[in-house]
Amino acid sequence: MSMESEIGNENGVGSLEPLAERLAEGDPGAPRELVERHHAELHRYALGLLCDAPAAEDAVQEAFERAFVALGKYPKERIGTLSLRPWLYRIVLNVVRNVWRDSRRELSVAEPPEPDERFGAGSSTTSGSNREAWLDTLEALRRLSERQRVAVSLRYLGDLPYAGISEVTGWPENTCKTLVRRGLRRLGALLDESEEKGGR
């Protein structure tokens, strides 16, 4: 019984063929590579949008499931020409928007949980004061408008260029730039504010 014996021949480990084409060709090693390549950055991005580690993990999980289901149904030619990264970011955004919509319905009953709990202690290598700064930032991020939060997260947590942000969201590139700029300013103001209150 061999599960990996064939990977080496036809599919070629470290093949130069783009991942999208390997997915289109049916390479059974390609789905794992897709997850391994993009899982961490999508999680970071979802965390920026949702500010809740378990919820972010669930969102990424669901996004990959949607992506794989779609890849099973798309025509081969379409898969081969997909820009996988922006495509995945777009799916995560769709999933997150559903989470937002659902949570708005429940908001009236649910008390906001303690931030430290929600960011999943020990789930990152961030430590000490860096960690605190990061938590404060996430908390502030949560208070931006949805569009600003999306744009800022894509730019700095996802490290996407403006053209990519535009591709993911469907907003014009200049709108994306404005949203990021205003988002950052507001973020700064929010953080200063919380510092003046003696931190939290």
């Binding site: 990977i7 060709e25 049916g26 789905p31 794992r32 899982h39 999980q61 794989f68 099973g72 950052l184």
Partner: protein, 269 residues
């Protein structure tokens, strides 16, 4: 003017500061690589799993969904197998390297080798008639064969011999559903998706006297007055001196024998 200027500068400073903070946080988080567990979970939910294993037909690829084995087949490469799987079921395949799939792979390998192991199967891509037929065929024991007409009747559609042939030809899970044990009504082995010779080889490997069956698929004994499919477990207990061979069930009836209640030969026609 001065005020405007300084405000602009301070705003730009704020932007830079925040960009730096976010960028730093992101790069620190980047160290946190995806561990295997969530990766496996995502593959398990979004894709069907693939593995290869040995079988009496040589190396075969096996595609499994969450519910069980969907396809067993041979192909030029795993890539080609996965591509055809996707065309057929609209799901992509990934190598099943997780614990769950490994365990299933071991069971499948055992079942393919002829061990009596139940393997979960997912036949959701088939019609009701196909499932009925496959269910009947699954019950044909190792070392025995049955004709198409018998399978048709057992599946509740006595006139559908030909349709049974089609179901056998497109059986998604050969060996697990032993379609090689379904033979022509005259006792000859007939065709097989992997080649007629493979079929003969498989049956001989299971101890079926292929040559004898082609002459006389039915066997009767005067001691009880009963006739059977020649490979029925009751037929194999008949002493050689009492063997009465028949080319058809009708001939056995005409000679005064009644059909066995275990293997239930088809008498009509």
């Amino acid at each position: 003017m001065k005020y405007e200027e300084s405000r602009r500068l301070s705003e730009e400073g704020s932007e830079e500061r925040m960009a730096g903070l976010l960028g730093n946080a992101a790069s620190r988080l980047r160290l946190r690589g995806a561990s295997d567990e969530p990766v496996e979970r995502m593959l398990a939910r979004g894709t069907d799993r693939l593995f290869s294993c040995d079988s009496p037909l040589g190396e075969v690829y096996v595609g499994v969904s969450e519910r069980g084995v969907r396809v067993v087949g041979k192909d030029a490469s795993p890539k080609r197998f996965a591509r055809r799987y996707r065309e057929r079921f609209g799901r992509i395949l990934s190598w099943g390297e997780d614990e769950h799939t490994r365990r299933l792979a071991q069971r499948v390998a055992g079942a393919l080798a002829g061990e009596k192991i139940e393997v979960p199967m997912d036949l959701s891509g088939t019609t009701t008639f196909q499932r009925q037929v496959l269910e009947v065929v699954k019950g044909i024991p190792r070392g025995e064969v049955r004709p198409y007409a018998w399978v048709a009747r057992e599946a509740g559609s006595p006139k559908a011999s030909r349709a049974v042939g089609t179901v056998m030809a497109t059986n998604p899970v050969p060996l697990l559903v032993p379609c090689h044990r379904v033979v022509r009504n005259d006792g000859t082995t007939g065709s097989y998706a992997f080649g007629a010779e493979e079929k003969v080889g498989l049956l001989e490997g299971e101890g079926v006297p292929v040559g004898e069956l082609a002459d006389a698929p039915y066997l009767a004994t005067p001691t009880t007055g009963i006739f059977c499919h020649a490979t029925c477990r009751n037929a194999r207990r008949i002493k050689p001196e009492n063997h009465r061979r028949f080319r058809s069930a009708k001939a056995a009836i005409n000679a005064g024998f009644r059909p066995c209640k275990v293997c239930r030969p088809v008498v009509a026609g």
